[in-house]
Symmetry: C5
Subunit: 99 residues, 5 copies
């Protein structure tokens, strides 16, 4: 899994029928210091993530292991919202303070 920040949304009316009802969010990938890496991913939202939140996302076939994404052509899923990230003994990110 990688860390990401929710930075956007996209609207697509013409799509694979099985994707109906799935919400796609645009994520900027973060490194372990909470900084943007330059990479991004569009992922289905399985947890109700909001704009600006730091999330954990899984890619590949793992992205279909949720009830919302199963058997759908989806290769990225937000599966957790990060509350706290601690790296090297320091609290790098704390949602309570960020919010």
């Amino acid at each position: 899994m990688y860390l990401g920040r929710v930075v956007g949304t996209l609207v697509a009316t013409r799509k694979e029928p099985s994707l109906e009802g799935l919400k796609f969010l645009v994520l900027k990938q973060l490194d372990v210091a909470g900084q943007e890496t330059g990479a991004y991913r569009v992922a289905a939202d399985a947890v109700g993530a909001g704009f600006g939140e730091v999330v954990l996302y899984a890619t590949g076939s793992a992205a279909r292991q949720t009830s919302r994404t199963q058997d759908r052509p989806c290769d990225g899923v937000i599966m957790a919202i990060v509350d706290q990230l601690e790296v090297g003994g320091e609290l790098v990110y704390d949602k309570a303070e960020a919010g």
Copy 2:
């Protein structure tokens, strides 16, 4: 998933029999600002995408989760045509204006 723009097509008469009838499109990958990243992908078209359109494509085993690509040796599929892309509160791409 990643964002891409349809930039080309390819013709292949000698191919795996199971690929018969699949349309392959050449995509240039776009970043969240709608700019080309330099990467590309050849993907099967599951939604009837047209030249110049901005699309969402899935890679890996996800690419076989459509009725057109199931059980075929295909690792990339266009599964949605993007109407609007909003990043950081700004409308980065709007198909109505681009068209």
Copy 3:
């Protein structure tokens, strides 16, 4: 899928028994302008590709979706020989002229 050019072969007498009979070709990856990217892949040949030909290859689990590669430890397969590649309205590659 990515575009590649067949540049070589390899011989391996000691290998997983299930690979017996599979032909492995060395591919240099091409970009959408038909230029080498610096990346390569060794792929199983499912279509009888020849030296110098431009091909389309799939990677990951897609590579096992052919009768020749099914259930084998193979993560790359040539699934089509490219006749024509058109990008941005221009004919970038034409097998008839290249041959």
Copy 4:
């Protein structure tokens, strides 16, 4: 598989229900000389790894081949704790000495 060092943890109260009880650790990827590469991965812990330990982690669908991660949206798993790493005839890492 790649080598990594456990450098952190993360807390996520809102997540996919199936992830309940899984422990996620933050790994910095190491190269074969035991140096950090700059890449990282968040992985589920299947072996009880501790802070600072050098581990072996698997990504992709392999990450779901443990009793703890099966059928869960997880694309990275720590599946072994490295005791000794020998490269080019030299002992690059020895847990007994590092500890």
Copy 5:
């Protein structure tokens, strides 16, 4: 598949139970000229490869398509030992001469 050279081994006593008996080797990735690319992979050995040998390895779910690695959390496998590599009409590597 990619080309690699066996450069090391690792010892791990604490690991996923299903990995018991699998031998993990450290591989430096080679390019089509037989030169190191800087990338590496730790892979399970399915063919009895020895130190310094040039091998072919598969990654992802392909790595579990051998009797030794089936259903195990393993994302890389050595599935062939390369005897000869011919690229661009030249013999880039010949095990008989290298040995």
